[in-house]
Symmetry: C2
Subunit: 383 residues, 2 copies
Amino acid sequence: MTDPRSTSPDFNFAIHARDGQARTGAIAMPRGTIRTPAFMPVGTAATVKAMYPEQVRELGADVVLGNTYHLMLRPGPERMERLGGLHKFMRWDGPILTDSGGFQVMSLSALRKIDEDGVTFRSHVDGSAHRMSPERSIEIQGLLGSDIQMQLDECVRLPAERPAIEKAMHLSLRWAERCRVAFGEQPGKALFGIVQGGDVPELRVESARALTDLGLKGYAIGGLAVGEPQAVMLAMIETVEPHLPADKPRYLMGVGTPDDLMQSVLRGIDMFDCVMPTRAGRHGLAYTRHGRINLRNARHAEDVRPLDEASDCPAARDYSRAYLHHLVRSDEILGMMLLTWNNLAYYQALMAGMRAAIAEGRLVDFVGETKEGWARAEAAEKA
Amino acid sequence: MTDPRSTSPDFNFAIHARDGQARTGAIAMPRGTIRTPAFMPVGTAATVKAMYPEQVRELGADVVLGNTYHLMLRPGPERMERLGGLHKFMRWDGPILTDSGGFQVMSLSALRKIDEDGVTFRSHVDGSAHRMSPERSIEIQGLLGSDIQMQLDECVRLPAERPAIEKAMHLSLRWAERCRVAFGEQPGKALFGIVQGGDVPELRVESARALTDLGLKGYAIGGLAVGEPQAVMLAMIETVEPHLPADKPRYLMGVGTPDDLMQSVLRGIDMFDCVMPTRAGRHGLAYTRHGRINLRNARHAEDVRPLDEASDCPAARDYSRAYLHHLVRSDEILGMMLLTWNNLAYYQALMAGMRAAIAEGRLVDFVGETKEGWARAEAAEKA
């Protein structure tokens, strides 16, 4: 089917098949092709934690995410440019998507102060003062060499009052416009807008429509998976989806669990990123065909079964749960390496399964079978 | 030359070539062949930290070391036996050498109390009480499935008074005899004795002679690299070497730096283990053809050169020093993975180089060239 190594001089999204609201296709770019729906492993500080870059690629990831906030503080965007850009630095030659830095400024930095022009904050690493504006965010993402760049936005943590949500959404729209001007015309690259509006449907619709008018190459839904129940998140996707252009990729930011991914693909989402598989892997949690397994639990101490005997991933197939339990309990780095590897393999296999199911018009069945697999294993454990 | 995958039903040490006091050869065992001089990566808690087992093997390691103290506390020897033994548990099918547990009891555990029969101590993990005797140490090493087992000994930290050194040496001799009885006859496996005697030449000679009388399959020199200068360590090797049987492997425990390895091989040592390459790798230090490099140092921040462009190891060859510097400064797991990989690759390449040089009768030249390479790089950095 689609070859992730094939390239296109332009940013070019093609939908190959639809199944309900779900779609499967490919984003062709100069650095490679992203098969959608796509899960993007998070490479926060120029590394997908506890993984060699070759492994990430071999698992089927076509694109990774870099965090502008982390990279602007260390090693710094100007230094990164002198070193030849993020791709060369981290040895990832496929497409890279970078966030705007705004989300982490809000969640990680100290003494942040937001105004119309941008945000002032102090580094969580060394306390140094920094200024981020829509223009500077685009400049930094350009210095990093990012292929898909995100507008600077203001993301409100839920629950929140409507005036705060509305104010942040309107500010985000004005910043989207400024980012579009700063980004200009870059044929092989893309700037994505971010729909905000919290859990207020009419604000979400207003945001989606206004962004669509900007004629961007892709649209993200931001400000979800920030504390609200899954049902609220899915309702917001359903609210926004009809107001986004059907021929542009839709990216749900920071989501989520395997079930979140399936439910969102069913509702028309094409791209995801989330720290869950990598972070969980560093904390003893495995995502598998048999559901989520907490390797720290004592019941695994003498379990010689692998996580998934049918997996192609050595971490899932070749190591006993007893050994993984031992590594996790002993805080061994190899435990983090193996569980991260397993989790990213499972996430990529899930995406590949959804892409194939959409092409065959059986995504609903695929989702049902996947959830049955989790439930069956859970029942067997309890029996 | 020697194939590390070839096996022998017995423990069989053959010397293929000599060069001065140095020798190169092979220890054939049921699980594989150990090419000597050999460096054994340390797999403390059933994992060579931050490495997949396949990587360790691919670097040319024929044998790894397991720590009895750590493994008896977690997962426990009886559990390990139920799980099929240490080889299966950690997915290492080559020979495994285990220490006796004595050294770590002394250095890590709390409330340890030594008497004629053994040592009582509390676990550093959970404070539980344990008892270790020569017989129990051999029993545990057997439960783990160890191929080369070490006698229980008492290791005195230097500097120490002669009476304390002498008393520990004599106790270690009595324990060697008890371990020999407990070990019995195991054709494909080996029990090694450990020469003690601190920095007192006549005690070292007495220990070596008495152990030789026990007719063991191999001999270790213990209680060195515990704080004394390199010259003292080398003098002790020179003192002991003539009193050990020439046809048995000689193992210098817990040593050392690349230079320590070369100086010791020149003096007739066949086997080494040390946490240095793995521990240093987790602390930002790289051992290379160009000497020891501290990646934390700011001068690497924009250095696009790899650690060693001529290395076969991807960690040494494919990643810039600037990237490694960034990973180390950011406490990224990938930094530990890459530097551990590089360091073990360098150690194994150094051993392979020494084996080849001994076979060609040019070990002194090899050592000189290696040290010149370090000095040249150091001079270039200062220029």
